[in-house]
C-alpha cells in the first residue's frame, strides 16, 4: 500500500544544497553569505505547501572552522538578494513573499573531526510556495562579524521537507 503515501497524505523528502564558493574576505555581521539564493525543490505542485522539519549544515575547511551564526531566509518564489559579502537589504516586495527564517547559532555547531563541523536544527517551519512556484529559495545571512573562510572552505547541507 506504500504507493498511497504522498497521494492521500504527506510525504517526506531529503534535499541537498550547497552554499557554493564562499568569499575569503572577512564578512561583516548581516552580510549575505552566498552568491544568489539557493533553490530547493519543495512542493509537489505549483503553490503547494509543507513543513521544513530538519536542516543539517556541514562546514569543511583546510583552515579554521568558522562555525558561523547564520539566519536562513526562505522565500516562496525567486528573489535576487544582495551580493555575496554585502549587507542584507531585502526589499518590501521581496518580504511580500517571505516564508520565514530559521536561525543557526554558533553554539549549534559540533566539530566532527579535523576541518569538519555540523549544525542541526529542527525549525518546523511551515511554508507555502507562491502560486507559480514549486521551489523554496533560501538566502543565508551571517549574523556574526569577522567570519573569514579559508580558500576552498564549503558549507553544504541537507534539508528534510514534509510535503503536503
Amino acid at each position: 500500500m506504500e504507493f498511497y503515501t504522498g497521494k492521500t497524505g504527506q510525504d517526506r523528502v531529503l534535499r541537498a544544497f550547497d552554499f557554493g564558493t564562499l568569499d575569503t574576505a572577512a564578512y561583516a555581521a548581516n552580510d549575505i553569505l552566498t552568491s544568489g539564493a539557493i533553490s530547493i525543490d519543495a512542493a509537489r505542485f505549483l503553490g503547494f505547501s509543507g513543513v521544513v522539519e530538519r536542516i543539517i549544515l556541514k562546514e569543511t575547511t583546510s583552515g579554521t572552522l568558522q562555525a558561523p551564526a547564520i539566519r536562513l531566509w526562505f522565500f516562496g518564489s525567486a528573489i535576487t538578494p544582495a551580493a555575496r559579502n554585502s549587507p542584507q537589504a531585502f526589499t518590501s516586495s521581496q518580504f511580500d513573499i517571505l516564508v520565514g527564517y530559521a536561525d543557526i547559532t554558533a553554539a549549534d555547531w559540533i566539530t566532527g573531526g579535523t576541518g569538519v563541523a555540523i549544525a542541526q536544527i529542527t525549525p518546523n517551519l511551515i511554508y507555502n510556495c507562491q502560486a507559480t512556484s514549486k521551489t523554496l529559495y533560501m538566502v543565508p545571512e551571517l549574523k556574526a562579524a569577522g567570519e573569514t573562510f579559508a580558500s576552498g572552505a564549503t558549507i553544504k547541507g541537507q534539508i528534510v521537507l514534509r510535503r503536503d
Binding site: I56, K58, G113
Partner: protein, 179 residues
C-alpha cells in the same frame, strides 16, 4: 472499517531494539574507560530499519550489568546512512567530510539534563543481579534512507569528562513512525 486503513494509507509505528554496546573490562578489576569525545562503539553499529522514511519519536536505553556500579553517563548518538570507518573505539572522533554527508541526525543523552529532577536521568530498575537501569527520551528525528535495504549506522560518542564503565550491556529501542 476505519481500522483497516490505519497504517495502510496513513502512518503507523514500529519498534526496533538492538544491542548498542557492550562495555568491557580491560583487565580484572579495571573497567573500560572513556574520556570526552571518544568513540564508545566498535565502528558503527548497523541497525536495519523496516522502511526508508519516517520519524524516530522516542529512544529508550537499558543498561544491564552483573556488577554493581552502573554509571549514569552522557553520550551522543550519531546516526548515519553509511558505514562510518573513521570510528575507532577508544579514539577521539574524527568523522570525515564524506561521512558527514550521510549524517541523519544526532541525539544527545545528557545525564542530569534530559529528565528532571537533575541527576536522575537514569532510572534504577530492580536492585537485583543483573543490575539494570533505563532512560527514555522523546526525540524528533525525521529520516530518509536512500537505500532499498535501509540501515542506520550508529556511532556512540562519550560527551562527559571521564567515565569507567563496568562489564555491562546497553540496549537501545527506537520507536519509529513510518510515513
Amino acid at each position: 472499517m476505519l481500522n483497516r486503513y490505519l497504517g495502510q494509507i496513513g502512518q503507523d509505528r514500529t519498534v526496533v531494539k538492538f544491542l548498542l554496546n557492550h562495555y568491557g573490562i580491560i583487565e580484572p578489576g579495571e573497567s573500560e574507560r572513556f574520556t570526552i569525545n571518544q568513540i564508545m562503539t566498535t565502528g558503527s553499529v548497523q541497525v536495519p530499519l523496516p522502511f526508508q522514511n519516517g520519524v524516530i519519536e522516542r529512544v529508550i536505553f537499558e543498561q544491564e550489568s552483573v556488577i554493581f556500579g552502573l554509571l549514569e553517563h552522557s553520550f551522543r548518538l550519531w546516526m548515519f546512512q553509511d558505514t562510518i570507518t573513521s570510528a575507532v573505539r577508544g579514539a577521539t572522533k574524527a568523522f570525515t567530510s564524506n561521512e558527514m554527508d550521510s549524517l541523519v541526525s544526532y541525539i544527545d543523552i545528557r545525564n542530569g539534563v534530559d529528565f528532571p529532577p537533575p541527576n536522575d536521568s537514569w532510572f534504577w530498575g530492580e536492585q537485583s543481579v543483573p543490575y539494570a537501569n533505563m532512560l527514555q527520551k522523546n526525540v524528533n528525528v525525521p529520516f530518509i534512507i536512500n537505500s532499498e535495504y535501509p540501515v542506520l549506522h550508529i556511532v556512540q560518542e562519550y560527551t562527559g569528562s571521564v567515565v569507567r564503565l563496568g562489564d555491562s550491556e546497553i540496549f537501545c529501542t527506537l520507536i519509529i513512525k513510518r510515513d
